[in-house]
């Protein structure tokens, strides 16, 4: 049940996209998301869709798998659409309750574009997390944020915390699944009842989960200490990030995409 959440999960396979430098993927994702808010006409969306389709194809991640991860955000998507649909002023298209509630032509357009934009945004970032291991991702982030060290931002520590947090997500999901099953076997009911009963039903799940999370954190801290971890000072990398030809090509394609989509999208 919980395993259906694919957002933020890695999809193991071997593809060009998987092998790209994490900095390219991070930067690319950020630029792609920004580009979504720059163009205003249908051409921009078409080019973005094409770009996404090519990247998905290259990444060898089944489209089905990406979409499954979007189920979790469906509610958010629907709320956005409804708000845009009903609250945008403009030329009325449909009126209800004697004109007090109306759908406008502008609202319809905005809602549709917003839905597409959000979906693209989510698909784009899913592709990054699906093709990059959490370790790689934080390596990339650490490297990109390095200039911030000059103003005393603890870049290494932030990256380490992020990689640990990311690493723990699947573990805790699995643990939740297990405890949920164990309590279900003892007659607990997580699905029925009103809000208060359901909130109460969470106690037998959350208490063991927190305890296990704390126990794991403790163990991890101990293991890190036993291996002499003492922060980023003087720490070297076994596999330093070095740009390859494919990374340069990827940057180039990204630039081409940006020019095309924003150029055509603002005509």
């Amino acid at each position: 049940m919980l395993r259906d959440i694919t957002l933020g999960q890695y999809y193991q396979t071997d593809s060009v996209i998987h092998r790209l430098d994490p900095r390219v993927k991070l930067g690319g994702t950020i630029l792609f998301i920004l580009s979504l808010f720059f163009f205003q006409n249908i051409f921009g969306y078409l080019i973005a869709a094409l770009f996404l389709a090519v990247v998905i194809r290259l990444s060898k991640v089944p489209f089905r798998y990406i979409v499954r991860g979007m189920k979790a955000i469906l509610l958010l998507l629907m709320i956005t659409v409804v708000f845009n649909l009903f609250l945008t002023p403009g030329r009325p298209l449909l009126e209800f309750f004697g004109g007090r509630v109306r759908i406008t032509y502008e609202g319809l357009k905005l809602a549709a574009f917003m839905a597409i934009r959000l979906s693209f945004l989510i698909i784009g970032s899913s592709i990054m997390t699906l093709t990059t291991t959490p370790n790689h991702l934080t390596d990339g982030m650490e490297r990109m944020m390095r200039p911030l060290k000059l103003i005393k931002v603890p870049v290494h520590e932030i990256a380490m915390m992020m990689s640990i947090a990311l690493r723990f997500i699947p573990i805790l999901l699995e643990e939740t699944d297990k405890i949920m099953k164990a309590q279900t076997a003892r007659g607990a009911d997580f699905e029925n009842g009103n809000l208060i009963r359901r909130a109460k039903a969470m106690v037998p799940l959350l208490v063991p989960l927190f305890i296990s999370a704390i126990r794991r954190a403790n163990d991890l801290a101990m293991a890190m200490e036993a291996r002499c971890y003492r922060g980023g000072e003087g720490r070297t990398k076994m596999k330093p990030l070095i740009y390859q030809t494919r990374d340069r090509l990827a940057y180039l394609s990204l630039a081409v995409y940006l020019v095309c989509s924003i150029g055509l999208g603002r005509l």
Binding site: Q12, T13, R186, G187, A188, V203, P204, P208, I211
Partner: protein
């Protein structure tokens, strides 16, 4: 009155590159009142199998019948099933959550909607069955020792008075004495109440002494199924899949090879001692 599994299959993470065939065409019959050991190497599908039996996992294909009714059929009372088939998970102490041991054991029967007195009587009974004294009732479940936690967790399932009790590696991580104590208590309970017990383990030695029947799992399939004696005759095959038969079985086989006329089917130390004595006497006489 029994459980029947027909061609049960299960795959974890279907539709992903991580797809794992965990159960492969399992057919089993579990009559009432049997004490069964389910044995298999790590990852052979034991836990997956037992979670099917109380409907926590739904079979991909195949059918599971409880008292002749399909548990995945429409209108089947799955919550009722969970009170009849009690499942104690691997490391059950990780599911304790209440403020004291006694309330934690009450959680199961309370969920069955029983009146308060009945809940408490059952909790007391269950705690007594696993050998937890009154002095621990008001302790926090996080303060007691590992073995005591394990017992409290088992009591939590026993208090629901299941007809079928499934224990997934109830002795993992316990010392030999704690292990023997828990297994003996379970045997006592089984004899007294006549409930069906399924004991999951990866050690033959653990279960040989206690069970009427052993089911050996290997890579998601049932490899062997029979009485301990029958199963231990396949010592070579068992070794190939990484399972060892009890030490006494090895000794008896060796003694036979060396010419002592013993019955090599002895599965427990006590049986073996008797066999060897008998054989020696015969040799002398």
């Amino acid at each position: 009155m029994s459980m029947v599994l027909e061609h049960v299959n299960y795959v974890y993470e279907a539709d992903t590159p991580l797809a794992q065939k965990a159960l492969n065409d399992i057919c089993l019959e579990i009559p009432d009142g049997q004490f069964i050991g389910i044995i298999g190497h790590t990852g052979s599908g034991k836990s997956t199998l037992v979670q099917h039996l109380n409907g926590l996992i739904k079979a991909e294909s195949g059918h599971i019948y409880f008292d002749g009714e399909d548990i995945d059929g429409p209108g089947f009372d799955r919550r009722g099933l969970r009170s009849k088939v009690g499942l104690v998970f691997q490391y059950p102490e990780h599911q304790l959550f209440e403020i004291d041991v006694f309330s934690d054991v009450c959680f199961g029967p309370k969920n069955l909607g029983l009146p308060k007195e009945e809940v408490e009587t059952r909790a007391r009974e269950a705690l007594a069955q696993v050998g937890i004294g009154e002095e621990l009732y008001s302790m926090s479940p996080f303060e007691i020792s590992g073995g005591q936690k394990r017992r409290a967790a088992i009591a939590g399932v026993l208090a629901m008075k299941p007809r079928v009790l499934i224990l997934d590696e109830p002795t993992a991580g316990l010392d030999p004495r704690g292990r023997d104590e828990i297994l003996n208590q379970i045997r006592e309970l089984q004899r007294k109440t006549g409930m069906t017990v399924l004991l999951v383990s990866h050690s033959m030695e653990d279960v040989a002494e206690y069970v009427d029947r052993i089911i050996v799992m290997n890579r998601g399939s049932v490899m062997l199924d029979g009485t301990p004696r029958e199963v231990f005759r396949h010592d070579k095959e068992l070794e190939e899949v990484g399972l060892a038969v009890p030490q006494v079985t090895y000794i008896m086989h060796r003694l036979r090879e060396k010419g002592l006329e013993v019955d090599a089917d002895a599965t427990t130390v006590r049986e073996a001692v008797q066999e060897i004595k008998k054989a020696l006497k015969e040799q002398e006489g």
